[in-house]
Every structure is written in structure tokens, then in C-alpha cells.
């Protein structure tokens, strides 16, 4: 299949890549751009391990075509920390032991950030439903929910200081 040249912004950087028109954004990120933080757990949009944001909207990158990224802004897990400073979610995932094997972690972090970006004070139920598209098989979700709750508090405090 013929490849198409695509220009997009990934984690703030202008990038160009050539990809066949049937290639998923997930494969482009991983195989063309070397961004392997997004994982393929199912390839059918059921597990959320490949979560990224596309123009700020949470998507499963396995369900987006690479060519659809033309002219758009993509943020992956690799773009989440501010230089060496971890995002509060990343720090709280470590502090709360919210990861065991860690394969689902990038997807959870991207999805949780998408939630906190629009609602910095979610209830437990809101957190659970916002993360219902991300599968974790290790933790039983308990420590993940607690980590998101703790990060929300951190963000609320940071917002007050501003």
C-alpha cells in the first residue's frame, strides 16, 4: 500500500512521517517515531493501553489512522512530565504503588490526566467511570484510584497557589 507523508505535532515537536494509509497511529508512534510508551494490549480499543490525546481529546491510538494525525497535536506518555519534574499523577502512581507490571500505566496516566484536566475534583465514582476504558489486571484498581485522588489534591493545592 502506498505511503503518505504526514506532518503533525507530537509532544510539542513538529514531526513528519511516511506511513501506509492503513497504518494505525499507535504503530506510527511506536515503529516510526520510537515512542513505545503507548502499548498495544488488544488492537481493538478495548484495553486503553495505547491511550494518547489527539488535539486534547483522549483516544485509543490503535483506532486512529496515522494519516488522520495530519496537522494535529498528539500528546503521549512521553510528553507528560515537565522536563525532569514528574506530573503529580506520575509521582502519585509511584508513591501509591499504583502499578505492578506497569504495562497499563501509561494509558491510565494519559486517561487520568484527561479527566483531571477537565475536572480537578472528581468523586471516586467519576474516577472509576473515567478510567473504565483502561484495563488493569494486576492491581484491582484500588491503588490506582487512590493515586488519582491524591494527584487531584496535589493539583488543587497547586491551583490555589497560583
Amino acid at each position: 500500500m502506498a505511503s503518505q507523508l504526514v506532518s503533525a505535532t507530537v509532544n510539542g515537536d513538529a514531526v513528519q512521517f511516511a506511513c501506509p494509509t492503513d497504518e494505525s497511529l499507535l504503530n506510527v508512534l511506536r515503529d516510526n517515531l520510537g515512542l513505545t510508551g503507548a502499548k498495544e494490549g488488544c488492537g481493538t480499543g478495548d484495553c486503553g493501553a495505547c491511550s494518547v490525546t489527539l488535539d486534547g481529546r483522549l483516544v485509543c491510538s490503535c483506532l486512529v489512522l496515522g494519516v488522520e494525525a495530519e496537522g494535529r497535536e498528539i500528546t503521549t506518555i512521553e510528553g507528560m512530565s515537565d522536563g525532569q519534574n514528574l506530573h503529580p499523577l506520575q509521582q502519585q502512581f509511584i508513591d501509591n504503588a499504583a502499578l505492578q507490571c506497569g504495562i497499563c500505566t501509561p494509558g491510565f496516566l494519559v486517561a487520568a490526566k484527561a479527566l483531571l484536566d477537565r475536572n480537578v475534583n472528581p468523586t471516586e465514582e467519576e474516577i472509576r467511570y473515567a478510567l473504565a476504558g483502561n484495563l488493569c489486571r494486576c492491581t484491582g484498581y484500588d491503588k490506582i484510584v487512590r493515586a488519582v485522588q491524591a494527584a487531584a489534591k496535589d493539583l488543587q493545592k497547586a491551583n490555589k497557589k497560583r
Binding site: E40, I127, R137, C138
Partner: protein, 745 residues
């Protein structure tokens, strides 16, 4: 043994603290490299052609057209994989690639390696396989019938059903005699559906074989040394010439203890003379890796009016899939392990069928028998008008009890977990309409086995710890804590790594909850070896006899009045001088860790069942488990919570669904639904610490036990909520509605 592995009560300084894991930052930033995250220059894409039939004879395979597809570098069939093991590992080889027959939907038939996915896919389409369909059987009880199709003629034995490959019996006393003493007898049959471990990371590897016969394999696995030995054996390679590196592992739960695509990737690489990367799709994971058994069982328990059990018998038939396993044996050993019984018997039967070859799944075989035993105990408690917890306490196993599977117990935790459940506020909380509460107990052996650890002290005094045990969920943090504790240094002075097979001696697979128990022991011993070297060096630096040196709080100190003017030397100070005092300072240990501590758990669960839809909601869940010693309590709780969540999925939703055609109908996460975040409440994890006498720190394994009680605990809770006894998993909405309809009819 050079080192003493007995438990010594210790006032721990860093053990038991909740420190950050060394691989944490890598895992929250996307840096961590898993099975599919490795790339090699010139790598090819490897794909597998799989059987569309449940059971068929392969009449012919024609690969000539596939080989001509531009970009295809190698095509592999069973002809490329002769049995080099003298039949010893033929089952493994045949499961990796079918020989004369395909034995299940998804069984590998051929494989290709090509320069890209599109070429590889095109080649798969052009491989011509001519099949002669054969009758198939996927249900365990049907497979035992006389007229059942024979799945494995070479494993069939005279005088028993052709598909029965093993029958194991455990117990003591006389169950028939015991029945005569019983005032009440309960008999009930149960079934459990087949479930998958459901790790989120599919099997993935990158193989590279050189023309000189050496090879490298990067792979997601629970045991890279085992993978090395098995792959080398199947492919006729020298063990020392195959270097296997374990990637970060995205979940395994037993499913990454066997090889599947890995020998194919190595064989393709050898044939193509290029690196080959293979990654299973999720559909392939469901169809062609190793789920756990479905089962069918009959239970009979007799008791006196006061609740004393006089006779206990269970027979459980395990569906092993296409190849024989040891599932009946494992299940049979666990069935009555929680109880002190004068007359008990458990029979575990392995049955082969046209389903994928079963692999271990967290406390393999135990949850099924626990479903039967613990459900029947609740029926018995109701008939005796006795509290279910009291009934269990009345018959509970203690130190000195002869276990149903043979040994006599040392100090064990089943009674304390039951007492904790009895006294827990959860057990007294009020329930509303359509809600029910259940509890159940569970047991798992845990294992030890072969382990190596290397501990190297740098000139700056930092410690590099290399373990051979794959870290499935926090082991590096635990080993770092143990090394820091022994050496008397801060945790962040230690960095733990998982070494590849070329860098360390053979270490058994991370299974049987052995990781922290056995690697912890090896780490303690390696640190003690290093301390001996540190003491020698300190003696040299202080110019005193080594016998006058003691190691305390991370320092070497000379004892005795004559040395009172000598200041102690820190680990850092000794390390800094090591180039001058004799060279690098290291400790290492190779051990076969015996004496794994048996583990028990008791769970309580509240559910609400919607009588209109049959849907069950978990309202509250409490896990009580004996850890022996919790090295890193966060990750111990995490094991308990994760195991409970898997058990919840098994109890309520998860099941392989086969059609009459023998094909799997739900090979994806949409239709095989594992619990999501909104399905669950917080999972309350309560750790007990009854030290294992055979480990210096008292460690037992913690990874598996808590998947054992949930099926029965939830079964008891749902039965109490709807007033009808549930006797099969999953207790999915249609099954609950059917049970309600049957009751009202």
C-alpha cells in the same frame, strides 16, 4: 548448607517500609521496555498461520506461493522442527506448531518472516493447508464418555477413559466409615468455566540467531532461564550459546511460564539469517496461549450436629486442553488443606480436550476445588444452623495438623485469618434488600527452588544487586530492601536489576509465589557473604585481626578495649579503599530454597444482585491473608487486591465460550470481559504476619493465595442474596436469571 535459613526474630529497620520501586520512574514515563518494545536493525516481522478447526488432520501444506511473495525471507512448518528431545518435550514442540493434526482452534500450523507486516500477512494467505476435519470435544465431562473423540492417542492409557491422562488421589482416614458418624450429609456438584490470566501485554519477543549457532532472545517471560533451556532443547542449540534477556513483563500470572511463539521466532531467525520480531494479537493470546482449566466436580461432606466434619470427599475433573498437565494433582492437594479432618479424600483428574493447552494461572487448580469445598461448607452450615465462620473454625487446621495432602503443618495462618474475619466490622455491617454476604477460605503451597543473586559494591559504596528472578510486580524493590537491611545501609544506596541468562546462574521461573521467598533468601546470603569480605577489608585497614571485627548498622567496628580508639569504618569508606585492599567487593549466592511457607487467606464479600437483570455488583470486599513477613506492604496488598479482582472476574463474568463447532466465540476483551475500574469497590487488604520458620525473615509467598477464595465467597454471597444456591461460574446475569426462574418454576 553454609547459611542458616531458620527464621530469626529481627527488629527491622527498612523491611516493611513503603519505599518507591526502582523501576517506577521508567514505568510512569514510558521508558520501560516490554516485550514488544525492542527493535533490531534489519528485523523481520514474524506471523503465525493458525488452525481454523477444533480438530483436523493436516493432509498437506503447500508454502511455495508464500515463499515467492516479495519480502518474505522464511516460511516455517513442522518439517523445520524435528523432535530433537527424544520425545521428552514433544508436547511442547507440538503445541508450538502442529504436526500431523491440529488439536484446537488457533493451533499454529505455519509461520512466516517478512520485511514488513503487509508482506507477512499476504504470505500467510497464500499458504495452502489441506485439512480433513475430525470429530472434536471441548467439554470435560463429554471428553470422559466412552464414545468421545480421542484427542491424544499417544497419551491414552489402558483401563481408563482415553482422554483421561492422570488421576491423583490424596487424603487419609476412611471417608465411607466417617460418613456413618455424620448426622448431616451434604452432596453437591459444581462447574467452573475456563478463564484466561488476561495479562494486558501479549506474548512478544525479538529473536536473533547467528550463522555460528549462537542466539539472542529478548522476551516477555516469567522465567528467562527456563525459556532458554526449553528453546535450546527444542532447536538443538547449546544452552550457553543462547542468551535470553527478560524484558519488563506486562503481567503473566502463570501464563508466561511456557513457550509459545518463542521457538518459532528463533527458528525463523535461523532460517532467514535476520532478527525476527513476533508479537501475538489479543485474539491469538486468547486462542493459542495457555488459559486455565474449566472444571466439573462432585463434593460430599458429612458432619455431626456440633459441626465436626467426619467425612469429606471431592472429585474434580480438570479440562487440561490439548495436552496433559498436572492440574488434577495440584487441585487435589489443595482441596481440604484448610481443615483438620479425620477422614478426607480428594481426587483430581486430568482430561485432554480440543481446547488450547492449559498453563498455570495463579494458584493453578486451587480456586476450582475451593469453589466446591467452600460452597458446600456454607450449605452444611445452613443445614446445621451454624455460623459459616464458626463451622470453619470448628474444623480449622493448626500447627501439628496432618494436612490432607500429607505433611504435618508447622505454624500456619488459617485460624488467625478466620479469627480476623470473625472479628472484622465488615462481618457485622447491615445488608439491604437483594444484598448478600459470603465468606470463604483458600490455601496455596508456595514453592522455593533454584535461585542466584549477585551483589556488587561499587567504589562509591553503592550496591548493584543482580537477581535472576523475573520481577512481576515489585520484586526489585523488595530485594533492594532486603539488601539494605542486611548491609545496614539506606535503601536508595541499592539498585536492583534482573540479569540476563549469560550474566547469572540458572534461576527458576517466577511462579508458585517463589520470587520474594527464594530470591530474598539468596539476597540475604549474598549480602552476608559481602559482609564477610567487608570485614576482612576493614581488618586490613584498621590493622586488627578479622575476628575482632563486627558488622553493625552498616559499619565495621573493632571490638575489645584495645581497639576502643579505632573509629568504625562505614561501607562507603571500605568500598572507597577496595582497589588497594584486595579488589572489588562482592557477595553472591546460589541456593535451592527449600521450606516455602504454606499460605492461607480468608475473604468476605458483599454483593447486590439486580433481580430484573441478574447483574451482580460487588459492594464491599475484604481480604485477610498471611504473608509470613510483608517486605514491601504496598506490593503485598497489591497482590492480595489483584488476586481478589481476578477471582471476582472469574466468579462473575469471565468464561471461554465454545460453539458446537468447537471454535472459540469470544477471543477478545470486548466479549471476554475482565473487571474494569467501575465494576469494583476499594478492596480492603489486611495483612497478617505469621513467620515462616524456614526463612531468615519469615517470608512466605503472597502472590497466589487470594485468587482461591473469591469464587466461593462470591458464590456464597450471591446465593444468600437471591436465596438460590449457585453451583457454576461465571455467575453471569443469564445464569443468575436462569437459577431464579428455575427456583420460581
Amino acid at each position: 548448607m553454609k547459611h542458616d535459613q531458620s527464621y530469626v526474630e529481627t527488629d527491622f529497620k527498612v523491611i516493611g517500609t513503603r519505599v518507591p520501586r526502582p523501576d517506577g520512574v521508567d514505568k510512569v514515563t514510558g521508558r520501560a521496555k516490554y516485550g514488544a518494545d525492542a527493535y533490531a536493525p534489519g528485523q523481520l516481522v514474524g506471523l503465525v498461520l493458525r488452525s481454523p478447526h477444533a480438530h483436523a488432520r493436516i493432509k498437506s501444506i503447500n508454502t511455495s506461493k508464500a515463499e515467492k511473495v516479495p519480502g518474505v525471507k522464511a516460511v516455517l512448518t513442522s518439517e523445520d522442527l524435528p523432535d530433537l528431545t527424544g520425545g521428552r518435550d514433544l508436547d511442547t514442540l507440538e503445541n508450538c506448531m502442529a504436526r500431523d493434526r491440529v488439536l484446537y482452534d488457533g493451533h499454529a500450523v505455519a509461520a512466516v518472516a517478512a520485511i514488513d507486516r503487509a508482506s507477512a500477512k499476504q504470505a500467510l494467505k497464500l499458504i495452502k493447508v489441506s485439512y480433513e476435519k475430525l470429530p472434536h470435544v471441548t467439554d470435560v465431562d463429554e471428553a470422559l464418555r466412552e464414545d468421545a473423540p480421542v484427542v491424544q492417542p499417544r497419551h491414552a492409557k489402558e483401563g481408563q477413559p482415553a482422554n483421561q491422562t492422570a488421576r491423583m488421589e490424596f487424603g487419609h482416614g476412611d471417608v465411607d466409615e466417617g460418613l456413618k458418624e455424620a448426622d448431616v450429609v451434604v452432596e453437591k456438584s459444581y462447574k467452573t468455566g475456563q478463564t484466561h490470566q488476561g495479562y494486558i501485554e501479549p506474548h512478544a519477543c525479538l529473536a536473533s540467531v547467528s550463522p555460528d549457532g549462537s542466539g539472542e532472545l529478548w522476551v516477555t517471560t516469567q522465567g528467562h532461564f527456563t525459556y532458554r533451556n526449553v528453546c535450546a532443547g527444542l532447536l538443538g542449540m547449546d544452552i550457553a550459546k543462547l542468551k535470553v534477556t527478560s524484558s519488563e513483563i506486562g503481567g503473566g500470572f502463570g501464563g508466561k511460564t511456557h513457550v509459545w511463539i518463542e521457538p518459532l521466532a528463533l527458528a525463523l531467525s535461523r532460517k532467514a539469517n535476520r532478527p525476527v520480531k513476533m508479537v501475538m494479537s489479543r485474539e491469538e493470546v486468547f486462542k493459542a496461549s495457555g488459559p486455565t482449566c474449566s472444571s466439573s466436580m462432585d463434593v460430599r461432606i458429612g458432619a455431626r450436629k456440633d459441626g465436626t466434619i467426619t467425612s469429606a470427599r471431592i472429585e474434580c475433573r480438570y479440562n487440561a486442553g490439548a495436552f496433559p498437565g498436572m492440574w488434577g494433582m495440584l487441585g487435589g492437594m489443595t482441596a481440604w488443606a484448610c481443615y483438620d479432618l479425620p477422614n478426607c479424600k480428594s481426587i483430581g483428574i486430568d482430561v485432554v480436550t480440543n481446547r488450547p493447552k492449559v498453563a498455570a494461572y495463579r494458584a493453578p487448580s486451587a480456586p476450582m476445588m475451593a469453589f466446591g469445598v467452600e460452597s458446600t461448607l456454607d450449605i452444611l452450615a445452613a443445614e446445621l444452623d451454624m455460623d459459616p465462620v464458626q463451622l470453619r473454625l470448628k474444623n480449622v487446621a493448626r500447627e501439628g495438623t496432618r494436612a490432607s495432602y500429607g505433611p504435618t503443618y508447622g505454624p500456619i495462618g488459617i485460624e488467625p485469618t478466620l479469627e480476623a474475619v470473625r472479628d472484622h466490622p465488615h462481618l457485622k455491617a447491615k445488608l439491604k434488600k437483594n444484598q448478600g454476604r459470603g465468606m470463604a477460605c483458600g490455601f496455596w503451597f508456595n514453592i522455593g527452588g533454584q535461585t542466584c543473586v549477585d551483589l556488587n559494591i561499587g567504589v562509591d559504596g553503592t550496591v548493584s544487586l543482580s537477581q535472576g528472578t523475573v520481577d512481576v510486580g515489585g520484586a526489585r524493590a523488595s530485594m533492594g530492601l532486603i539488601a539494605a537491611e542486611e548491609l545496614g545501609i539506606p535503601y536508595d544506596q541499592v539498585k536492583t536489576n534482573v540479569a540476563d541468562t549469560a550474566s547469572l546462574g540458572h534461576t527458576d521461573t517466577t511462579e508458585g509465589s517463589r520470587g520474594t521467598f527464594s530470591s530474598g533468601m539468596a539476597t540475604i546470603f549474598a549480602a552476608r557473604e559481602a559482609i564477610e569480605v567487608l570485614k576482612e577489608r576493614a581488618a586490613k585497614m584498621m590493622d586488627v585481626p578479622v575476628d575482632d571485627i563486627v558488622w553493625e548498622n552498616g559499619e565495621a567496628r573493632a571490638v575489645g578495649d584495645e581497639h576502643s580508639n579505632l573509629p568504625p569504618l562505614s561501607l562507603k569508606a571500605i568500598a572507597a579503599k577496595s582497589p588497594q585492599t584486595g579488589g572489588p567487593i562482592a557477595g553472591h549466592n546460589e541456593v535451592t530454597a527449600d521450606g516455602a511457607g504454606v499460605s492461607f487467606a480468608s475473604h468476605i464479600v458483599d454483593v447486590e444482585v439486580d433481580p430484573e437483570t441478574g447483574a451482580t455488583k460487588i459492594l464491599r470486599y475484604t481480604v485477610v491473608q498471611d504473608a509470613g513477613k510483608a517486605i514491601h506492604p504496598d506490593y503485598v496488598e497489591g497482590q492480595m487486591q489483584g488476586a481478589a479482582a481476578q477471582g471476582i472476574g472469574w466468579a462473575l463474568n469471565e468464561e471461554y465460550i465454545y460453539g458446537d463447532d468447537g471454535l472459540l466465540q469470544n477471543a477478545g476483551f470486548l466479549d471476554y470481559r475482565i473487571p474494569v475500574c467501575s465494576d469494583l469497590p476499594m478492596l480492603d487488604a489486611h495483612i497478617l504476619e505469621i513467620p515462616n520458620p524456614n526463612h531468615p525473615y519469615g517470608i512466605r509467598g503472597v502472590g497466589e493465595t487470594s485468587i482461591v477464595p473469591p469464587l466461593a465467597a462470591i458464590g456464597n454471597a450471591v446465593s444468600n442474596a437471591v436465596g438460590v444456591r449457585m453451583d457454576a461460574t461465571p455467575m453471569s446475569p443469564p445464569r443468575i436469571l436462569a437459577a431464579l426462574d428455575a427456583e420460581s418454576a
